[in-house]
Amino acid sequence: MSDPTALGRESRAAARSRSGAFDIPENPPQRALALHRALTAVWANDPGWRGQITAVNHTTLGLRFMATALVFFAIGGILAMLIRTQLATPEGAFLDTELYNQIFTMHGSIMMFLFAIPMLEGLGIYMLPKMLGTRDMAFPRLTALGYWCYLFGGLIMLGALFAGVAPRDGWFMYTPLSGATYSPGINADVWLLGVTFVEISAIAAAVEITVTILRQRAPGMKLTEMPLFAWYMLGTSVMMLAGFPPLILASVLLEIERAFGWPFFEVARGGDPLLWQHLFWLFGHPEVYIIFLPAAGVLSTIIPVMCRTRILGYGAIVASIVALVFLSFGLWVHHMFTVGIPHMALAFFSAASLLVAVPTAVQVFAWIGTMWQGRPELHLPMYHVLGFFLTFVMGGLTGVMLALVPFNWQAHDTAFVTAHLHYVLIGGFVFPIMAAATYWMPQITGRARIRGVGEAAFWIILIGFHGTFFVMHLTGLLGMPRRIDIYPDNPEWIWLNLTSSIFSFVMTIGFALFALDLFLQATLGKRSARNPWQAPTLDWALALPAPAYNFASLPGPRLLTGEPARPALLPLARGEGVLPGAPRGRREFLVTSIGAARPDHVAVLPGNTALPLWLAGAIALFVLLMLSGHYIWTLPALTLVAALIWRWGRGLTTEQDHPAVEAAPGLSLPVHYHAHASLGHTGTICLLFSNGALFASLLFGLGFLTLVTPGPDAPEAFVPGQSAIPAMATVVAGLALGAIGVRLARHAVQGERGTGALWFSAVVNALALLAVAILGLGLMDDPTTHARDALRGVLAGYVALHALICTGFAAFALDQLRRGELANGRTGTLKTWRFWQDFSLATALLAGAAAIMQGGV
């Protein structure tokens, strides 16, 4: 990982101590089989079908995410075949237009939300703990919740497809076409609610991937020495935390507009359809890089192994990842070059869109340099790597072309863009993922593949892909727009479309063969050698297939730099690493510091539970009630959700003191209940960061509609300032006093006398809730009259939700106190609550200020 030369273990330890790094002595070796049995008893899923429901293990769930994503890829692919069949002839009568529109909308939505994102989440969830040297993700129940939300959301969308009421307004769902007037029926609601439901899983995965990478690396694995894949996934998950909220906000606003008539996008009442486009693409462009980064992480992992060398330019690649994470948020307007924005603004985004090619180029050249420095061997994963180069570089170059404003004016919304985006997504995601699949299949199944099938699949896919999409560039330049189902007057497009259609079927055969190859390997393959590629990373330092606990003992500084990973395998299995076995009969792993990965404390994980399934089921109930228009009945569903979240929180508490754990000779670590900064602490910060992005998107919408939208002015505000200001002041004061209360309670708890402060906090937070309710229900203008009032209604709702959450925290803390869970330095929920309370106070202040600056209060 860090040092290429084969230093002996002792001299390596000496080098470490010279550079100020720390050392952890080894534990005495034990019998590997006994450790395996003890750990399996603690970590394994429940037996039988129950085990499928209650599993929270990252290996199980990661694989399940990827398998489900593959199924959706197949469904999305079949939809693509239908599209290509329709377009094979100019007057195709294969599908009627309504159905065709549903199919291309679902093709895009499925590939984006139900294939690509869950696939990369699954890869991260499966791979990261193994690569970083830990036993599970930070929040195993959250992994399971994410999976169920993804599955249920996906099933709702699929159900709509089979019932003939699938979304039909394009995967971008532009208003006003997707508004209530032009899209009556539940088609658009299916998209808005289904996708938002699936996004819960994306946010959940992003939070825990971030926390896992920052806090669970093997002790001594510095941030600047961790496998590059982890850097890529860190960048991806931070982008998901910041990038999904704008779409969630946009979907919520559009759903409110459709269901309750609050205008956000409707011109006649002060809304603006361009607000949807801004919010959608503020998500939509980062989305492309969210998909590309994990794939690039796969390439940075596989290429050096296939070339028997190590990656070239680690530092430059990390810098490129940082640059991509940021720059990708400055490109969204290049999807909107034709909406009539002034040229200078387009120029900013054009320049930023070109600039994003630089960090991409740095990586491509670093990969090529790695190949020069090593000796490339043409194993099957390397075929897909070459397929990546061939395809992605062309997609990148057409992307540079499309970043130029004038060319974009011609090519926008034509088949040229269809070609470009497939070159980027299949080149930049599907080929690397196929490389990953062929590379890690021995690790996943413990079996070697059957020769020949994979190579054939690769060639058929490559030929099919380029045959389909290369000509599509020309089709677009000859004027064929996207999303049309017939072209009777344009004979010049016939042979181009027919070519695309024929080769698309070739490509499909290739993908089917690829799936067959995976199936054959999993069922018929011979036993694979351990670490068949001689890879250096820890994911190969475990038994094949991976046991439920990954590592019998966790790799410490002395076992980290094994290159290849094989030398670390035996000592780890014998328990010579940190925190061996499961002597306390509970799931434990090590939590380390963000930078140098110094051991901080031992986290105790919850075991198998069906709670995530019930919670996802309750959310699904809410979504279905919304879809069917039974808005009143959503209230009991939401109550059920809240009750289950309470139940969830109960699973995190303890009424006992836990003695420190001896993780290695002389290394005694506290258990997380007593830790200063637990995983929950880091996770809360991540979640609030995402929540902040949501709030910032809301403020952006408010500023946009107030300052830029040319629509009709808002009517004179009904509410005189004198009556609204006191209510707003009460909200802020209540939340501020709550923030003081939670701090007082924390001090009081040390002396076991916190009741007064907790009651005080509960009351003032409830008062704030009451005040915002009075404000919203009694004092504010009807939100259906104008966008200004609708936005104010949303701001009030946001503040009310947070006041409710803070009140809930206070009640939960009181309950904890009653049970004796807040004592002896165990602060229970108080720290998490304090973060939420401060966040709620800050957003309430900003919301109030924004409403006042909007004018008319």
Binding site: G313, I317, H343, L478, P491
Partner: protein
């Protein structure tokens, strides 16, 4: 003027050879200065991109063989940052230069209106006696710049005549301006380029460029023809 025609001939020759038949919606057979400049930009970018693509392929191919020791910074900094920034700067300069020349600044002599609805176009243009309204046919004079004011009735559409200029969206609540010019009299096909519902594929229109001496006298006659089969919604 003659050199211009020669260029146009070269430009249209390639896709003609490829497609082998008419190219009435081809952005590569420009019939006006806006489309022509974008087409030039395209051919330039195509040439540059092909060279870059070839470079990458050659570098990848050369990696197969004995290991070679090239300093890492030469890959990441020299090629990755320096070289790519230099190329991209040229691209950006070309894009801004062409873009700024195509943006309507000030007002053109002729101004027409295009109003999109589900699923058709209503055009308003000068006729012999005041403004004339037509459906799915727009009349302009050849050889001079025309500003099209694009608006929408219901959902978002886009006005696109590939041989004359790039596209511009018709957004409810906004007025967008597109400048185009047809060098020669003739008929130019146009369509809606933004997905707008089930009628999206059947929203074509035609731009008729009249010799400037016949314009706007010639407008009425054709307008009446078009009117008879038109009829909003």
């Amino acid at each position: 003027m003659r050199g211009w025609k020669v260029k146009r001939l070269i430009m249209s020759a390639v896709p003609l050879a490829l497609a082998g038949c008419d190219t009435e919606l081809s952005a590569l057979s420009p019939a006006g200065p806006a489309a022509a400049q974008i087409a030039w930009l395209w051919w330039g970018m195509l040439a540059a991109s092909s060279a870059l693509f070839l470079l990458v392929l050659v570098l990848v191919a050369m990696s197969f063989g004995a290991p070679r020791d090239v300093p890492a910074r030469r890959w990441t900094h020299t090629l990755g940052v320096g070289f790519s920034l230099a190329v991209l700067s040229v691209f950006l300069a070309a894009g801004l230069w062409v873009g700024e020349r195509l943006v309507p600044r000030g007002a053109a002599a002729v101004e027409v209106r295009a109003h999109a609805f589900q699923w058709g176009w209503r055009f308003t243009q000068p006729g012999p006696r005041g403004m004339v309204e037509t459906h799915d046919v727009l009349h302009i004079p050849a050889g001079e710049p025309v500003d099209v004011i694009v608006t929408a009735e219901d959902v978002i559409h886009a006005f696109w005549v590939p041989r004359l200029a790039g596209k511009i969206d018709a957004v409810p609540g906004r007025q967008n301006r597109l400048r185009l010019q047809a060098d020669e009299p003739g008929r130019y096909a146009g369509m809606c380029a933004e997905f707008c519902g089930v009628g999206h594929a059947i929203m074509p229109f035609e731009v008729i460029a009249h010799p400037s001496e016949d314009w706007p006298q010639a407008v009425t006659a054709t307008a009446r023809d078009a009117d008879s089969d038109g009829g909003e919604q």
